[in-house]
């Protein structure tokens, strides 16, 4: 094990796969010379050269369009969209073209491409640079979607995504780039579609994603002081979705909470809550509670941003209120 930051782990994951497979290459705005706006691709240009680590003009459509064409010819591109908010500028290519190609060609053309993007709030970047858009991607048939919460997953899930035969969007979290954690040395690849129990507990199940995972874990520690033993599940992969890990936990605890950074309406928590309620209706001791950012555009001011995104305090209060 080595201790790495989340951003170093991203770069390691890319390097590991570029080393292994000469078809893998990276493109995006400022990913080469500058090492990435969030410094998650530092050192790759020096190591792999400008043919395989390519700066592009500021045109998200061109970036993912080029990635799509490259994937069609057999390459395995990793395209970076600097902020997930900018996925909107290339949504036509993502939702209309990339996600549908395999289906529309009757399986003749697959697109083994990865779109990496910096998602989420916590950096005071305002309404147009802080959104959590993973639920959009989850709603598009034909895309796989992961969102790592730890440096180990930033490397492992990214490597797993690069090896997928289908398009995968990797939502890296802006506020986690500086976080540190143990990352396995040597080759590290995680399979998509597996949730992880990050903390075992008996009383309630808290389901979280990306930056909400450390908050849920902190909340679980606070809840322990209140006599509540919380199990914390890191979803990790929204598509494919590992319902069996979540369902096993809820079957044990009979109470479920989601912690979502995205706006409430049509967030991923609604989908998981609906599936759990359908399968475990008689096991539930109370309604599934969704702890989300309220349905507002994210404010830029420190105090207001902190007031919108679920905090440790809000998670603790919501759990205590529901089981009280």
């Amino acid at each position: 094990m080595a201790e790495l930051t989340y951003r170093q782990a991203v770069a390691e994951g890319i390097a590991q796969e570029m080393e292994r497979d000469p078809l893998v290459f990276l493109l995006g705005e400022d990913v080469a010379d500058a090492g990435g706006a969030f410094k998650a691709t530092v050192g790759l240009l020096e190591r792999f050269g400008p043919e395989r680590v390519r700066d592009t003009p500021i045109s998200e459509e061109a970036i993912v369009g080029a990635a799509m064409g490259a994937a069609m010819t057999g390459l395995r591109p990793i395209a970076e969209i600097m902020f997930s908010d900018f996925l909107a500028t290339c949504w036509d290519l993502i939702a209309n073209q990339i996600a549908k190609t395999r289906y529309m060609t009757n399986g003749q053309i697959s697109l083994p491409l990865v779109i990496r993007t910096a998602n989420g709030a916590g950096s005071r970047f305002g309404a147009q640079h802080s959104q959590s858009l993973e639920s959009w991607a989850m709603a598009v048939p034909g895309l796989k979607v992961v969102a790592p919460a730890t440096p180990a997953d930033a490397k492992g899930l990214l490597a797993g995504a690069i090896r997928e035969p289908d398009p995968v969007i990797v939502f890296e979290h802006k506020s986690l780039y500086a976080s540190k954690g143990e990352v396995p040395e040597g080759e590290h690849v995680e399979e998509l579609g597996r949730a992880l129990v990050r903390r075992a507990g008996e009383d309630v199940t808290i389901v979280a994603l990306a930056a909400m995972v450390p908050r849920a874990l902190d909340a679980a520690e606070r809840l322990r002081e209140e006599g509540v033993d919380a199990e914390v599940i890191d979803v990790r992969s929204l598509v494919p979705l590992d319902m069996s890990t979540i369902a096993s936990s809820v079957a044990k605890t009979s109470r479920m909470f989601t912690v979502e950074e995205n706006p409430r309406l049509c967030g991923w928590g609604a989908e998981i809550a609906s599936i759990v309620a359908e399968g475990l209706f008689d096991d539930l001791d109370g309604p599934i509670v969704r702890i989300t950012t309220p349905h507002v555009p994210l404010p830029a001011a420190d105090e207001l941003e902190d007031a919108t995104v679920p905090s440790v305090e809000r998670i603790v209060r919501a759990v205590l209120a529901a089981i009280g």
Binding site: D85, T89, W91, A127, Q128, A139, P263, L265
Partner: protein, 319 residues
């Protein structure tokens, strides 16, 4: 319905000189679905005009026009072609009113012929409502009948916030008689279209007709189904959902969109939050599949059928 929408635009243009109508082929040709037929001849090329094929340009122009005091009503020709305008819609249309602290009304009505049922294949049969409903700052409505289409479009144009109007293509040629009215249920209000005690069927857009057909079939089996037309997808009408869930204890949500994170997930999760102790069975979802919209020959298998809706209702009743 296309005639009722046409009248809504005609009347809005007549009543408010700030209203503008523009988009691809809406002027000279009168729109691919005839919704803007005759408007340019009546109100001139300055207020009803054709644009180049650039959805981002259309939505962006609408934002700018709001700053100059206009009330733009714009058309995206098909559901999936609203995606090229996604950034304008999500980052500017939806957020500008908050960013200027309410000092400018973003009174934009974005009309989108939506959903399937006309053998339109991928890109022409999509249900994009999840993206828009998930975006804070937008209101989203989907009428199911001609008279309500008139009402919702007039209300959308009068609203100070941006409203996405998802017009069900499959219902454009449906007819309904009655008085055209702006008042009555507003944006944010659902409507109970048929009363029943055993189960509540929730739908919107073109699926409302199908759910009413299913209710008629179920009635023969002594299952009385209450039918709720959501009309407004954002905001949702918690009051009606909660009351119906409490009173019938069993709910089926129906939509054309793929299952994953569709409105059905939201409605199901919400009903559980609002009426958990009153539910006799888990909320069932009858939806499109998690695949791209299929070619014409597979459309009947993709869209929720009366039979699939009835099966789901029977299951929740027997639960």
């Amino acid at each position: 319905m296309s005639g009722a929408l046409n009248r809504a635009l005609y009347d809005a243009l007549a009543e408010d000189p700030r209203v503008l109508v523009f988009g691809e082929d809406v002027g000279r040709s009168g729109g691919v679905f005839r919704v803007t037929d005759g408007l340019q001849a009546e109100y001139g090329e300055a207020r009803v005009f054709d644009t180049p094929i650039s959805e981002a340009g259309i939505a962006g122009a609408a934002v700018g026009l709001c700053f100059a005091g206009w009330r733009p009503v714009v058309e995206m020709q098909f559901d999936a072609f609203s995606y090229p305008a996604m950034e304008q819609v999500v980052d500017h249309v939806a957020k500008m009113r908050m960013r200027v602290r309410g000092r400018v009304d973003l009174s934009i009505t974005l009309r989108i012929p939506a959903f399937g049922g006309i053998k339109g294949k991928e890109h022409h049969g999509e249900s994009p409502e999840t993206y828009y409903a998930h975006t804070a700052g937008l209101k989203v409505v989907a009428p199911s009948s001609a008279l309500d289409a008139y009402r919702l479009l007039r209300q959308a144009i009068a609203d100070p916030d941006p409203v996405i109007v998802l017009e069900p293509k499959a219902r454009y040629w449906s007819k309904e008689s009655g008085e055209l009215a702006n008042d009555g249920p507003g944006i944010g209000d659902a409507r109970v279209l048929r009363d029943g005690e055993t189960v509540t069927l929730v739908a919107y857009g073109a699926m409302v007709t199908r759910v009413l057909d299913a209710a008629a079939v179920l009635a023969e089996e002594a299952i009385t189904a209450r039918v709720v037309d959501l009309r407004s997808l954002s905001p949702l009408d918690d009051g009606v959902l909660e009351r119906c869930a409490r009173e019938t204890g069993r709910v089926v949500v129906v939509h054309e969109a793929p299952r994953s994170v569709g409105l059905g997930a939201e409605v199901a999760a919400r009903i559980m939050e609002l009426a958990f102790d009153h539910l006799q069975a888990p909320v069932a979802r009858v939806t499109g599949w998690d695949t791209p919209y299929p070619p014409a020959s597979l459309e009947p298998l993709y869209l929720p059928s009366v039979e699939r809706i009835c099966d789901a209702a029977r299951k929740v009743v027997a639960y």
